[in-house]
Amino acid sequence: MSQGLSVDRVSYRYGDKVALDAVSFDVAPGRFAALLGPNGAGKSTLFSLLTRLFTTGDGRISIAGQDMGRTPRAALARMGVVFQSPTLDLDLTIRQNLSYFAALHGLSGRDARRRIDAALDRLEIRARAGEKARNLNGGHRRRTEIARALVHDPSVLLLDEPTVGLDAAARQSITEHVHRLCAEDNLTVLWATHLTDEVYDDDQLVLLHQGRILAGGTCAELRGDKSLKDYFLDLTQMPRQGAEAAL
């Protein structure tokens, strides 16, 4: 079983509507994989299944070798998640937010403090650890959430459209930072996005459209001479007008 992330023929329905149709892909350990798809492609449903907010009887998901269906807690323990909607408690300080999360993973005392300091260092926000989350700008709140997702040293990091609502500079900074984390710390990353400029040429690309995987491979190989945006629009046969803004 893969030590990275493995999704094997996963399907999900909302009543009669098929949200995911036999979705399969693997992300090798230490790889950065971008899950690219327009709004409504099924990315959030897939994230809910990956984080066990939902479960499905169709297909298998494994995180760092742990089967989500059979050993869900072991799988969750190896995973860090940054949700699309903000999950910080704005009345608490950065450190308190991270301590709360560490405790949910059974970490406390000196061990938790050491890990929290290390995570804050990795995201370069340790100097602001005593500030309330409310006082941070959008970019720093996101950094805090990423630092929090790393406190328990996960093997796999999942990020669901983590740059939504950020300005261009913060967006670029966060995108670069997570790419660097992946390369330096051998972290397996799954980054869901609908923005093509967040995907680098060396990244693994998983294209999701209308609940199905349209293509998978290295971004540079897949797009060839085209821009990623053109490649994606050609593949999905989406009308260019309107889709330009979405991608």
């Binding site: 999900y12 909302y14 509507k17 949200a19 995911l20 409504g40 492609a41 099924g42 990315k43 959030s44 449903t45 897939l46 994230f47 809910s48 984080t51 066990r52 907010l53 939902f54 479960t55 807690r73 072991a74 969750l76 323990a77 995973m79 998640v81 949700f83 699309q84 909607s85 903000p86 999950t87 910080l88 408690d89 009345d91 608490l92 308190q96 301590s99 709360y100 999360f101 405790a103 949910l104 993973h105 059974g106 970490l107 406390s108």
Partner: protein, 263 residues
């Protein structure tokens, strides 16, 4: 076992911190029962004659009668308010954070329940202290004996809120909870009038009150405050707690899709 306790402490502590940051909520939660006690009960005293019923050994004033019911009121409103915060939490995402922790979901929900019950109990004792300042006193041991009754009643009402929160899809529906859960539960109970008094006007209403688990929570607290044990009330409250908790676990079962939305 230790990770379970670490998580429990953190969740209860977080509830405490949220409580400290929402002081106006604390004041509002106290004003409500105090208005009932000091205004409503004073006006109502003349209209309602109370005979001697257990656990009371002598004639009591109406203010004395409704104190346990108002303790229950604090637990009831807080239980529902924490269900409101769960719906809100779920929308802002912090409920997701809780539910993706590598611990059994039942335990995580129980911790959350215990945290909000602890906050409610602080409010109940503050209310009892103010009531004592106005001359409605119990024996010192009565306050101690009431604690387990308050804990189990708080858990029951919190579990009800938790179960409701898993079925409420939007924040706006909380008004419906007020009208269809809180008010009927409170008024169709022994909180404001003893059941025999209710039976005088309508045996049907009396039966509904006797079925209402909130009645039993209030009676459990009432008897405990007077150092008496009401086994039937305890049994009823325990059964209701188990039932509401089972509903909550079912509501939050990932196979049901807790926050089913289009992806």
């Amino acid at each position: 076992m230790i990770p379970y306790l670490v998580a429990l402490r953190a969740i209860v502590l977080r509830e405490g911190l949220r409580f400290i940051h929402q002081r106006e909520r604390f004041v509002a939660a106290l004003v409500r029962p105090l208005v009932w006690l000091l205004v409503f009960a004073a006006g109502f005293r003349a209209a309602l004659g109370l005979s001697i019923i257990p656990p009371y050994a002598t004639y009591i004033t109406y203010e004395t009668y409704i104190v346990p019911g108002l303790c229950g009121m604090i637990l009831l409103f807080n239980g529902m308010q924490s269900s409101l915060s769960l719906v809100y939490d779920r929308e802002t995402g912090s409920m997701r954070l809780l539910l993706t922790a590598p611990l059994p979901r039942g335990w995580l929900l129980f911790c959350k329940l215990l945290g909000s019950t602890a906050i409610s109990i602080v409010q109940v004792y503050t209310f009892l202290t103010i009531a004592a300042l106005f001359g409605i006193e119990m024996s010192a041991w009565g306050y101690v004996a009431a604690l387990p009754a308050l804990v189990i009643s708080g858990l029951m009402l919190g579990a009800l809120g938790l179960a409701l929160s898993s079925f409420i899809k939007q924040l706006e529906n909380f008004a419906g909870v007020m009208n269809f859960v809180i008010f009927p539960m409170f008024f169709l109970s022994s909180a404001l009038y003893p059941l025999w008094k209710m039976a005088e006007s309508s045996p049907l209403l009396r039966d509904i009150c006797a079925f209402n688990p909130f009645t039993h929570a209030v009676e459990l607290i009432r008897f405990a405050l007077y150092l008496q044990f009401n086994g039937m009330a305890l049994l009823w409250v325990l059964l209701a707690t188990v039932l509401f908790m089972a509903c909550a676990l079912w509501g939050y079962d990932p196979a049901r899709g807790m926050v089913k939305r289009k992806g």
